[in-house]
Amino acid sequence: MPGEGPGSNTHKWLELAVPLLSFGGALVAILSFTQGLPLDFRYPALGCVLASFVLAYLAWIRPKKDIVALTTPIYSLIFFIVPTEYMSGIILQLLYATSLTILVVRLKYRFGRPGMALSGGKELAEPLRTYVEQTRDVWTGISPEAAHHATVAFVRFAEGEFGETAQRSGTAAGQPDDVGNTPCLTRAFMIVSEHATLMDQSLSRPATYRTFLPEDSGMLAKPLLPAQDDDGGFYTTLDNALLLLFSAAWNASGEDRPHLLTCQAFAQKLLIGK
């Protein structure tokens, strides 16, 4: 599952660091006040400043950005850079630490899991990587041209260029010799071409449409469920076809991988979405 890798422990510690740093700073300020130690208010306030930066980092690494959390470092500097009376400074720190704690909880539950810019990464993330690796051996016989067609079809579809996707997929589907012993790739091209044509013309689902054959089922990312209605089956077929093109392109055309990585978030969405 995304977000449950080795990095997720670090994220948990960082989430915990926000209240610890901010309230810790306030605690130091209270202790120095009660013990009568002369300490500039801005030193313990560093806890809140650091906690703000940690919070902003946690907000930044989520695909869905929280602008409130992202701007907290600015507020921390505005609030704590100016010298203030010690007692009011402690109250300000306590209120600020409470706000940061509420914001980190809000971030955790309303802005999803951390997932640093999938499209900007250099590797495939789970669960897409597992699917692509599982289907790797199937693509040994396809030509570089067919793999490149798959890349272009997938990328153009992700970009919403449905007319070009239809045309490119149709061309690729008409060259069965290029796909070696994987006729399911031809079927994937045909399915994508059909869907892209319908979408380009904003047409609704036809009564009959292209599907994969039962023998392709082992290569499909998302099984067709018996309980699925026609709409569900229609769109799952498209998801499977697009993911097959992605896998073929990734495994058979190394040069095209940077282009595929720019669409990784879309591929992940197809794989884990409804």
Binding site: V155, G160, M199, S202, G232, C263
Partner: protein, 167 residues
Amino acid sequence: MKIGNIDVKVSIVAIAVFVVFTILLVAASVYSMDVRSQLIWLVPGLFMLLVIPMALNYMSRSQYAELKPIYEAEAKTVRVKLINENMVGKIVRVEGVVERVYFQFLNRPQYLVADRSGEISVKMFTSPDEDVKVNDVVEVLGQVIRRYIVTGDPVVNCVSIRKIKKE
């Protein structure tokens, strides 16, 4: 209020500001001779608090009305799930159910529209033609943008949102 074909709507916030400043001006002019002598400037200034938001609303709504046929011609109907960051700049048509409505009182409504494949934020920078509420089935026309212009998840910058009949 209708100007030409455009139904101009002033937000409740603008009306509240106008009312508050009217009360303040009336109170101040009762107690202060200096304020009374400046009423020739203050009263038009007060009305500008209503006129400026109305003018802005008229301009934005007339601009959106001009864009609507262009968007209707260019938009591709897509499911919510297919909208992704690679589609930024594309004009899309989305059909779905309104799950949440935010900031309607500011005349800058933001809707959470869902279809069977997922949900997406639909932002509108002016008041819509129709009063759209939660659970309404709608058709949205708009452009895919990033939530914070250069970063953030893809959202739809809405030019038109209209209720459609439930099938």
